[in-house]
């Protein structure tokens, strides 16, 4: 015990320990500083503040971050919190000839735009991934539910790009859906610039005919069918969906990334 005391009392050891402790404290403090990025004044510019994390996501231009906006209620899906966004905040549903107002049918499509701001110099791009969900009709049986699950992801697709060809609206760059939010799926990506609000639009589409479904020939139940039979089968599936589901909705997860947007 006496030897230990003597050892510890040696000034050099003591000061060394103190220096190490000081270094650790400083490092963790500065690391948090760069990671949080919540200072309201840096380089003399007013930074966008709102929420935690490195990006701000709003559903209206210049709007509040969806996770901290008081007027948006929160829902929990798979132990993660989601902000519930009413359709009218995102511009409501598009209107189509031949479709009842405020409703959707095969051939309908709608944009979803998120206004994303990078809150840190090191965040250079965003990535958006989507999960498809539906509200089943009241009297649906488990067997019917299984049938819906097997087909719905082919009928409703989310795309990154919309264009027109010969007067017909078309889409490209489809995303794939996640089951768990940690899944690795095809995401919508784009570039971000520090402190600049960037609109990121994705389109969900109820593919009108089977020929509109990306790569439909590689879907097992359609492969091997001639086009006319495939079209008919798809149309019958549309009728099943129309009869057994009341509505569709999406869970969207958006993250910032230090990597560039690639292409």
């Amino acid at each position: 015990m006496k030897k230990f005391k003597q050892f510890f009392q040696k000034k050099i050891i003591l000061s060394l320990v103190m220096c190490i402790l000081l270094a650790v404290v400083l490092v963790s403090a500065t690391y948090s500083w760069y990671a949080m990025s919540n200072s309201s004044k840096a380089y003399g510019i007013d930074l966008e503040t709102g929420g935690t994390g490195q990006i701000k996501v709003a559903v209206e231009p210049g709007g509040e971050d969806i996770m901290t906006a008081g007027y948006l209620t929160k829902v929990t899906v798979d132990e993660k919190e989601y902000a519930y966004v009413p359709l009218k905040l995102m511009g409501g549903l598009m209107k189509f000839e031949n479709i009842q107002d405020q409703m959707i049918a095969p051939g309908a499509y709608n944009p979803m735009t998120f206004y994303i701001t990078s809150l840190s110099e090191s965040i250079k791009s965003y990535s958006i991934k989507v999960q498809l969900a539906y509200e089943p009709s009241a009297k649906i049986t488990p067997a019917q539910k299984q049938k819906i699950e097997a087909i719905i992801k082919d009928h409703i697709t989310v795309y990154q790009e919309m264009y027109t060809e010969n007067g017909v609206v078309k889409f490209r760059s489809p995303l794939t859906y996640y089951d768990k939010v940690s899944d690795d799926v095809e995401e919508a990506t784009g570039a971000l610039k520090f402190n600049v609000e960037v609109p990121a639009t994705i389109y969900w589409v109820w593919n009108y005919e089977v020929t509109d479904v990306p790569n439909y020939t590689s879907i097992p139940r359609f492969s091997g069918l001639d086009t006319r039979s495939a079209v008919r089968k798809y149309d019958e599936e549309d009728t099943t969906l129309g009869n057994y589901i009341d509505g569709i909705y999406f869970n969207v997860s958006i993250e910032g990334s230090p990597e560039g947007a690639g292409d």
Partner: protein
């Protein structure tokens, strides 16, 4: 060791402990992902459409039978969104799941080209016969104590539709040698609708009278042994949706 030094050591250790826990706590708190759930978009009810016999109960058995020159045969059909009682299709009865719906449809008659017939389609209004009340002029007797009143003949499109449909079936093939090429007649009335009220389980039934007669032909002998087919097709109208122009309600 002196008391002073003990205190210093203790303080330093406490600070270190706090700093570490603060650092790791900040690490876990940092939630980068923003998540949104959109409100559900309501799905429109799909169209279910059936062709029935004039009794509005059974699937249509359409048979013209023997048709002699100068003769006019009539056939009554019923178009409805109610599934016939003797339906043999595979799907379960959708009516239970049905929501309120209203949709348009059109009527198409197809016959093989070598059949020289004329047909006219009339909208028919079905009324119930009342005991002791005479039937009005021109009434058509129907099953189960009903009669029908002929309306105006339906307007139809023949040439363009035949061209279109042949194009769809045969493509750019030369069809001059093909015997069974179809000739199509498509109704052009935009007001043909079927409505379903889910709360009352109320279906819609619309009746049509089809009159078939031979065209005025000189050498009937050529057609003497013809056995040909006439198809009646009803299509629920569901064209590819197009964005409404800005400003339209």
């Amino acid at each position: 060791m002196g008391r002073k030094k003990k205190i210093i050591v203790l303080t330093v250790c406490t600070i270190l402990l706090l700093a570490l826990s603060g650092g790791t706590f900040a690490w876990y708190l940092r939630e980068d992902a923003k998540r949104a759930q959109t409100e559900a978009a309501a799905v429109m009810a799909p169209y279910n459409l059936y062709l029935m016999d004039e009794n509005a109960k059974d699937t249509l058995q359409f048979a013209v039978g023997n048709l002699h020159p100068g003769e006019v045969k009539t056939e009554i059909i019923c178009v409805s969104n109610k599934r016939p009682d003797n339906y043999t299709g595979d799907d379960s009865d959708m009516a239970e799941q049905a929501k309120d719906s209203e949709f348009g449809y059109d009527l198409m008659l197809v016959h093989t080209d070598n059949l020289a017939v004329n047909y006219t389609v009339y909208a028919l209004k079905r009324e119930q016969m009342k005991p002791g009340v005479d039937l009005p002029e021109g009434a058509v007797l129907m099953e189960d104590g009903y009669y029908g009143i002929k309306g105006d003949p339906l307007e139809g499109n023949e040439n363009e539709i035949s061209k279109d449909m042949r194009q769809k079936v045969f493509g750019s093939q030369d069809i001059s040698g093909i015997v069974n090429v179809g000739t199509y007649w498509l109704s052009t009335d935009d007001e043909m609708n079927l409505k379903y009220v889910a709360s009352e389980k109320k279906y819609d039934f619309e009746y049509y009278l089809i009159e078939i007669s031979w065209k005025d032909i000189r050498n009937f002998d050529v057609y003497k042994k013809e056995t040909d087919l006439v198809y009646v097709v009803v299509n629920a109208k569901q064209p590819r949706p197009v964005e409404k122009a800005a400003g339209t309600p």
